[in-house]
Every structure is written in C-alpha cells, then in structure tokens.
C-alpha cells in the first residue's frame, strides 16, 4: 500500500484503486439543492450579552434615580406646604386679634371711668381668653379696682406695639401652634367659668328669692 496515494492520490496503488472502483456505486450523486422554505427566515442580529448587562444596569440605575428624586420632591413639597399653610390656621389670627384688642382696649377701658362691675367683667373676660398676656401686662382684678391709669401698663402696651421680631418658619409654626393651643384652652376655660358663674348667680337668685 502506498501512503502517498492514500493521502493525495499521487502515484498508484492497485489495492486502493480496486476498493475505490468497487465503492464507486455508493458515491454521492449530485442532486439539486434542497428546496428552501418559502418563508424567508429573518436572521436575528447578533447582540452580545455584555450589551444586555450594561443596558439592564443603566435602566435599573435610572429607575432608582427617578424613584429617589420623586420621593425627595414629595418630601420637600410637603415641608413647604406645611410652612405655607401654618399661618392660615384659624386660631393664631384670632389669638392675635384678641391680644390686640386687649392691648388697645385695656388702657382705654381703664382711662374711661366705667362702673366697677363692667370693668371687672371685661377684665375677667380678658383674663379668660388669654391669661398669659394679661399676666404679662399685670392686669389683675386688684389693679382694675384702683381705677387709675397705670403707667406701667401703658408703657408695656407701647412696647408691645413695636414691630414683631421676624421669626423663622419653624419658630413661626411653633408659635402658631402654641397660640392655637392657648386659644383652645382659653375657650374651654371660658365655658367652665361661665358655668360656674351661672351656678353662683342661680344660688344668689335662689337666696334672694328665699
């Protein structure tokens, strides 16, 4: 057997040639190419996994960023809303107006000589509504009984008329809350005192009747 003939058909080898001739019948006979499917199969574009990983990471990062920004904006909006809304709470203006009334009216009431009872009533009324302010101004029932204009009260009132110190948002909010609480408590106190007074009046009436 010649290796050269077996490898690249150079030269001759009768034994191999004999085998080739015998097996010739089984050789591939060229046919027409197979009929391709009628539908054209679309070839997918090659996309690497790396690209998918990068795109996924980017989209995930963007989603997280959007969520965080949304949350942050929401929180900041709530804060500003609270700060804006706080002055609009009904109670503080009432408290302020009442306080002004007290500050303005008291001296006038004191200067103008009115019957004792009415002055007492008003003083009590004031004390009921805003006790702190009254205390600050030293307006007590004893002072009112003197019926003399008190210089100290006037001085204090003039001091109170000074422009208020500018407060920060938080301070203002706290102040408003405090005033609201005070107004609520004062209104409740008023109710209680009214009830007590009524009871006393009835007792007096009952006694008189008897």
């Amino acid at each position: 057997m010649k290796e050269e003939y077996l490898w690249n058909k150079t030269g001759s080898d009768p034994e191999i040639e004999k085998l080739e001739n015998a097996l010739k019948a089984f050789r591939y006979q060229e046919n027409a190419t197979p009929v391709l499917p009628a539908k054209i199969i679309p070839f997918e574009k090659k996309t690497s996994r790396k690209f998918f990983r990068l795109s996924f990471a980017f989209s995930a990062f963007a989603a997280i960023l959007i969520v965080c920004l949304g949350f942050w904006f929401q929180v900041s909006d709530n804060k500003t809303e609270v700060a804006k809304d706080t002055p609009k709470i009904i109670s503080p203006p009432i408290a302020e107006t009442v306080a002004k009334e007290i500050l303005v009216e008291k001296p006038v009431d004191l200067v103008v000589e009115k019957p004792k009872k009415s002055v007492e009533r008003k003083a009590v009324k004031v004390q009921k509504i805003i006790p702190q302010v009254v205390r600050q101004n030293n307006i007590t029932e004893r002072n009112l009984e003197i019926k003399k204009p008190d210089d100290s009260i006037v001085a204090q009132n003039t001091e109170a008329k000074k422009p208020p110190v500018k407060l920060t948002k938080e301070e203002k909010y706290a102040y408003d809350q405090l005033m609201l609480a005070l107004s609520i408590t004062s209104s409740k106190l008023k109710l209680v005192t009214d009830k007590i007074e009524n009871v006393e009046e009835r007792k007096v009436i009952d006694k008189n009747e008897r």
């Binding site: 057997m1 490898w7 080739e20 015998a22 591939y28 046919n31 070839f43």
Partner: protein
C-alpha cells in the same frame, strides 16, 4: 517498518504539506459564503451545498443505510439553513455541518420503526454490488473516526487535505485515521500484505 516510526514520518510529511496548503484562505472563502447565505443569498446556499454535500453524504453513509442517506443529507442542509445565523465561527461551517450530520444519523436510528431485513434469496445472490456492500459493511464496522475518514477517501474520492478542510480536523489526525483505518479494513477483508 515499525508502526510508530511510520506514523512519525507521516506527521512530519503532513506538517510540511499543510504549510503549503492555503487552508486559511479556503476557510475565509467558506466564511464569506456563510455570510452571504445569512444575508439571504440563495445562490450562496447552492455553493455551500455543492462544496459540502459529499462530505455530509460520506458521514451519513457511514451510519445509515444507503437508501436513506440522500434524504438525510437534504435534511441536514435544511436544518443548517434554518440555524446558520447561530453559527458564531463562520469559517468552521464544515465541522458544524459534520456535527449536524452525525446528530441526524443518530436521530434516524432513534425514530426508526422495527423492520425485518430482506433475506439473501429476495435480494439476489448475483447482485453486482455484493462485493461493494461487503466492503461497505466492513468499513461501517470500524470505529467512528476511521470509518468516516475512509468513506470520505474511498467512496467520496476526497484527498486527505480536503477531508481535513471540510471536517475541521487536523491533517495529522486524518492521516493517522486513514493509515490505521486501512490497516483494520485489510484485516477485516482478509487481504494479505
């Protein structure tokens, strides 16, 4: 000559020969054909079929009956056409086709319904192809690596280099397979040196 010495010489010879053969150019040409097929060029598919059909036929013939081989070759190429876009290494189309052919041949036996073989009386004793059948059955009885290479060489008439190019195997291994396969075939057929 001792066998080891001979195979050593064969390796040397093969190396010197592969240096001359422009295999890379052929691989590049094959890759170009595949790219054209992927682009939807049916003519390129015809070229691919013509150049690889004998190799596929040889691999299929080494495993399945002769009558079935032609149909399986067609199936192999249709399957390849459908899945060609998945082939990453375009220049390795030959090895890829060979793999599909082997798988198809295995599937053929898996799906085969039980049949009875014809007796010698029915077949006809004086058939002209009797000798050829005997040789073919002797080749089929060899190990896979040897029978494929021998069929491609003796039946399909391909040279060692052509077999190496189309199947993706190295010329050295083809040379060894041819040499050892022929030796075993001779023993099977009872041919004396």
């Amino acid at each position: 000559m001792p066998e080891n010495e001979m195979t050593g010489n064969l390796f040397l010879f093969a190396r010197s020969e592969t240096r001359d053969a422009p295999i890379s150019e052929k691989a590049a040409a094959q890759a170009r054909i595949v790219e054209r097929v992927c682009a939807g060029d049916e003519e390129a598919f015809g070229e691919l079929y013509k150049s690889f059909a004998p190799m596929v036929h040889g691999i299929v013939l080494a495993r399945v009956p002769r009558d079935e081989a032609a149909d399986i070759v067609q199936e192999v190429f249709l399957s390849a056409y459908k899945n060609l876009h998945r082939l990453r290494e375009k220049s390795a189309v030959g090895a890829w086709l060979a793999m599909i052919a082997r798988n198809r041949a295995t599937e053929f036996y898996r799906q085969l319904k039980p049949t009875e073989e014809l007796t010698e009386d029915v077949k006809g004793k004086n058939n002209a192809n009797t000798e050829a059948r005997e040789i073919l059955s002797a080749i089929r009885a060899l190990p896979d690596a040897y029978k494929e290479t021998l069929i491609l060489r003796l039946i399909e008439g391909m040279t060692g280099n052509e077999i190496a190019e189309q199947t993706g195997l190295t010329p050295e291994s083809i040379r060894v397979n041819l040499h050892r396969g022929m030796k075993m075939l001779r023993q099977k057929l009872g041919v004396k040196k």
